[in-house]
Subunit: 487 residues, 2 copies
Amino acid sequence: VSKTVSSFELVLKGRQPHQALTNWLYGELCSAIVDGRLSAGSRLPGSRDFAAQYGISRGTVVNVFERLQAEGYVSCRVGRGTRVSEGIRLTVPSATNPLCQPSYIRRAASAYKRPEVFVDWVVFKGRRPFQMSDPAVREFPSRIWGGIAARHGRRFPSWLREEDDGRGYSPLRNAIAQYVALSRGVKCDADQVVIVSGVQQALDLLLRLLVKKGDPVWTEDPGYFGACIALRNAGAKIIPVPVDGQGLSVSAGIKLCPKASGVLLTPGHQFPLGMTMSLERRIEVLQWASSAGAFIIEDDYDSVYRFAEQPVGALQGLDRNSNVIFVGSFNKLLFSSLRLGYIVLPPALVDVFVGHRRQTDFHTLSLDQAVLCDFIVEGHFGRHLRRMRDLYASRLAVMIDAGHHYLKGLLQISGVQAGLYTAAFLQNGMTSREAEAAATARGIETRALDRFTLRRKDPKGLLLGFAAHDEKAIRQGLGGLAAALGG
Amino acid sequence: VSKTVSSFELVLKGRQPHQALTNWLYGELCSAIVDGRLSAGSRLPGSRDFAAQYGISRGTVVNVFERLQAEGYVSCRVGRGTRVSEGIRLTVPSATNPLCQPSYIRRAASAYKRPEVFVDWVVFKGRRPFQMSDPAVREFPSRIWGGIAARHGRRFPSWLREEDDGRGYSPLRNAIAQYVALSRGVKCDADQVVIVSGVQQALDLLLRLLVKKGDPVWTEDPGYFGACIALRNAGAKIIPVPVDGQGLSVSAGIKLCPKASGVLLTPGHQFPLGMTMSLERRIEVLQWASSAGAFIIEDDYDSVYRFAEQPVGALQGLDRNSNVIFVGSFNKLLFSSLRLGYIVLPPALVDVFVGHRRQTDFHTLSLDQAVLCDFIVEGHFGRHLRRMRDLYASRLAVMIDAGHHYLKGLLQISGVQAGLYTAAFLQNGMTSREAEAAATARGIETRALDRFTLRRKDPKGLLLGFAAHDEKAIRQGLGGLAAALGG
């Protein structure tokens, strides 16, 4: 239904049903001028020709031209015809100074706080010791994963009509329920499992639901920075509770704030110090939560890797009272760009959580969920975990051994035998940040332990990732680190 | 390092480094009892045998047994040995009444509000007229999509190390930038594009960043329910602004609240009434936003389908002042379980938004992003849109034509020639809800228009989806609807 005015090659869009001719023509010409399709100075056909071209009465065209002239879009001079105004100032606002942003952007920018933990957070390109964000992706069985993905691709028509109630791909939820029951002692069935993109989305969604502005929540000090970010975004009052060799000190928490709404814990492998929460502390925290009606979010980010002994079971497995919400992720176990994790909810919280979650993104399906499901069900996941457990154990052993050799008197590597990284404590008098900066200057990536503290004073140490680095890289890195730390 | 006590087949986990023998043994036995691995009444070996089995001094074993006895875990009677207490009450709290939930769950449940729009929202199983949530998935070129997915699966190793800065798969962002520029007149480059799961996640993320508690925001009345949900969750004060034949009444908005922080609009195809916002209104709203420093979130959910004329360009294309944030989705264009949409941000907002977004889920990659990217770049997307535009136009024509035939005097189907659904207005005196209930009773899915109103009185009409239903289904559905509405 488009009509072209040949003299200026303008496509006018068809008229809407019920739209008045005058409004349509006015709108189309306005739009062409605003869009620049009719450029400044170009000539419009005479009203008589124009009317004939479009089969409109000449009176309508004259009306529109007069309106355009009155509003400054076109000008009309004897002998020059009707032309688009030169140097037309659009009625659409135009920023005179590009540096002058609208105030909503200035408000957002000033309200947005970059988390302090990330200030001067240097990430080197390439895989360098002792980066701790990735597992050993070179060891990932990518052919197997790719084969499953290709198979799911070919079977795509069946996936097309997958339905999701906000919890994610149902066969994957079954596989996860079995996996966490077997390997972590979590008590659950698939109905309680909700797929998310990882621990951070789990915390963000949970805390938005569970916390009202100003509600006090305990968190480990030092602790996982993502937990603090999610707590702050949810408006919680963060209650830093000190961590000792047995994990979070429940008695200290009770002294600080007995009526807290909940607590965020990493009982399997404390972030960043690495110890496991003792059974006594586990029972203490369950008792407190039960009497306070509080939630415990158990962040089980990498507890499945424990080298010297069997993994310690999940706190959730001891809970008889629906206090514990269990959160896990595959991103650190398989590869970081996977973006799949899960929440195991107490049965009574499932409906409310799913309703709440649907309000934030409606659905959660992705083809990756189907691929991961088969990867687990066909046994590849278990095999990969066992291979990585051996590999990481040997890499950690190299690190501890070489650490004794290179770093004696400078840095004491923690004896914790778990996870993808280890804490190491400075013996050379440097603060955590001084040591991190010295390492960075030599191209070695570490994380200062005091980045993860809240009230606690600097634990004077570094986090060193070992999982993604082979023996040679670890030895070289430790050599460099020794030089950086003044060895 | 595990040791088995054969007499009761108990696996004791290895001792942690630095853990005292007594603590270890106590913890292990506690744990076995709490876990039920040592069941009530079962007999422990004598302290002498036990000590010999584990190579521990008998004194240690006696100490632990005494501690367990003192705490009630085990009991000791002459002639019966040491046994796990009968009817042991775990020190782990146990809900006496399963209906008695912890208070954090009760608080979450009472704070959670099911959006009113969904109350009695009946969804029939199977594809029935006039469901409006899905496009015509039977027509989706699933072999082509599946072939691309299979190819990406085989190429998986390259994907394994994909990096993401929080905006999503970079080649897909390029493809989207080109698509929205060409088909919607959006002015942007790929740096401004952020991948999300759809319109709802876009609104949720944007409003959490842009709105502080109590900030007034205009929204269309009637309007998109998801917008109200996201506004409420962000704590905004919702300012319902009436919609007329030209779209949102900017002058009414200015009267109601001139200093609003922003506005949520569906200018391309107003939800639910279907009209396009006129150019005059577009310029009015841009002028208001510019002078108020306000944001305009342009929700372009299905504007690409316009049957009687070319699509109307995006409001974003007229913006010269960074007021407009453009939001779109592929879920309604391809298939609902895809879960991919995008935001086009003003350049000055990109860094802040990406920082904010990373705090909620860190990364956004998925294999589907790579598949969609090739689907667009290889031209399948454009072809599919053109095919669907023709198909939907013919289905809408059937609906209007058959509507005249079956529903004369009962229901007037709107003349709007766009989108995947149409509004229809009751002429039989029924309210929207009465009509919806009557249709539901005959197995016909419609949505009462008053579900989408805020202050506005019942527009007395229904939404009818046509995109996913063939001619026969539409005719049958309209016949049934006529009977339901008293024809």
